[in-house]
Symmetry: C2
């Protein structure tokens, strides 16, 4: 493929035909900060919208070291073996700060990346969370338009990103490592409230016993919490990327979750609600963006915030002052 | 006191002098929806700002039936006995929907309400969460200006209100009832992540054993979670409003929490961060308010949202369309 600039029709045709190179370029376009790229990207996404929505969208999170990429590779391989077409996306809003990356290392997920039925997006998305959310959501739509019927969205369970991913996916899988001592130590706040399926990783060899122990602990902990959906109690299982033990069971649990939600009428309602959720977030983000981009606001804000911190100005008074500046600025 | 309309100076002088009737009227002013009342209320709060910040601000939450008002009355009585001046405020954003109220029943907290060193605000704040947050925050400031050195902010642990209250207070106390079976069943999502001190109520007579058992369970559960502050592991204790057992220990735990945070340098930093948090929320609320009040936006929004739900329009496209309407409207 020559690297000439593609038009909307070429992008649409390429993505629809499952051309991985075109799909990759379309995703790069989505992630571009150039204004003309953004216009083109929006046109491509809009044109592909009728072919989206067909994938089972699955979020997978876990702290670094939990064996996330190995397990995703194992699960992805299992799925392509069953005839599924699998896309793997990464959400890593921390990259900008830490310089780290989830999928930046090209040696990871090597066998899945070579699998013709799989698409692994190797570059992590950079930027702040709002932007990452939009990029990931649009990338997911492109993958659906390219006929991937399972999309795995990988995220590190160390920030706000999992809340966002939970609003992108149908099923939220949390990977946990069995520790030596307190099994639940270090759980990110709120993560247990989002979980649909919890998998204890590295349940092989010496690790089996600890994994079983952790499984019992997590089951008890989750049993004690109000479930996310009345129709579903989170499944807790153990698995191993090395031996493949539990990988089929993990997929089975994800499918059962979908069936339970669909039966209860929650599945499609969830999706509709997610759409409106993203519209509302986009409105909020757009308003704040315009607010902060306003020169009159920018000129005052730091001084006002300092007074608020010290208690010299009330938060409402400060907000009112900055908002008045903004509205006056708009009116000009 | 005659019911003539007070001016800013009269409000300020009355509140500063600890005149409970004037304080009550100032709070009513804050809660008023009338535009002229709002202007006056803002002027009063601004004038009193230099005398605020002096109270130990404590949030107390728990589901209905946990014995919240009895325990607050017991704790309040203990505190006034120690020479403190105690204000009790209620946050009940659900009132509007349910018609219920926390402190609406005037027969509750009777002895505390008669205590000259206590101020119990009997009317629950009505309205949506953002408005309730502002009213409560400003009421808290007025109580500080009136020299109350402990402010107890009561909330029902059934909604988003506890997240908001946690941003208003220095210490977040969660009351729990020992149940027959699963002690943690029905815990509101996220509540354990906010807790600084957890008290099992009704630990008297037959209830002592169950309370002790629940205490052990909650200790284990909290031990398994990442603490909110590295400097503080939540205290779990049992108490009884009837026998007063544990009430002194509850106050002791609240004071230890403050000391630990102060030593770690977190206490005042928390307060400064809360101020900026409220400014940011006020900006967001103000932007959204102006957005939704715009006739051009209001005319389009329902139709656009319906298309988004169905997947016929992308959330971003929809947001962009509504934002463009808003900005054009402003420019006129």
């Amino acid at each position: 493929m020559t690297k000439h600039r593609l038009g909307v029709d070429e992008y649409v045709a390429g993505v629809r035909a499952g051309d991985r190179a075109v799909l990759g370029r379309a995703i790069t376009l989505i992630e571009s900060r150039r204004a003309d790229d953004q216009v083109l990207a929006q046109a491509v996404v809009a044109a592909l919208l009728p072919w989206t929505g067909g994938a089972h969208r699955i979020g997978i999170t876990g702290v670094p070291g939990v064996g996330k990429s190995s397990l995703i590779e194992a699960l992805g391989g299992h799925l392509t073996g069953l005839g599924h077409r699998v896309a793997v996306l990464a959400v890593d809003p921390s990259s900008l700060r830490s310089g780290g990356s989830i999928l930046g290392d090209k040696t990871r997920m090597q066998s899945l990346a070579r699998d013709p039925r799989a698409f692994v997006r190797p570059t992590p998305t950079l930027g702040e969370l709002g932007g990452v959310a939009r990029h990931t959501r649009e990338t997911l739509l492109l993958c659906e338009a390219a006929n991937y019927d399972v999309v795995l969205v990988e995220t590190v369970g160390v920030g706000q990103s999992e809340v966002m991913v939970a609003q992108l996916v149908d099923c939220f899988v949390v990977l946990m490592l069995a520790g030596a001592g307190d099994e639940l130590q270090g759980i990110k706040r709120g993560i247990l409230e989002l979980v649909d399926v919890l998998a204890i990783t590295k349940a092989d060899g010496e690790g089996v016993k600890a994994a079983r122990w952790a499984q019992a602990e997590y089951r008890a902990a989750l049993h004690l919490m109000r479930p996310r959906y009345p129709a579903w109690t989170p499944t807790v299982l153990t698995c191993s990327a090395q031996t493949q033990d539990g990988v089929a069971a993990l997929w089975q649990a994800i499918r059962e979750h979908r069936a339970a939600l669909a039966t209860a009428g929650v599945f499609s309602e969830n999706r509709a609600r997610q759409q409106v959720y993203w519209m509302e977030r986009a409105i909020e983000a757009g308003l704040l963006e315009r607010f902060h981009a306003d020169p009159a606001v920018a000129g005052e804000q730091a001084a006002v915030a300092a007074e608020v911190r010290d208690g010299r100005m009330s938060p409402d008074h400060a907000a009112g002052r900055l908002l008045a500046l903004f509205m006056r600025s708009m009116g000009r």
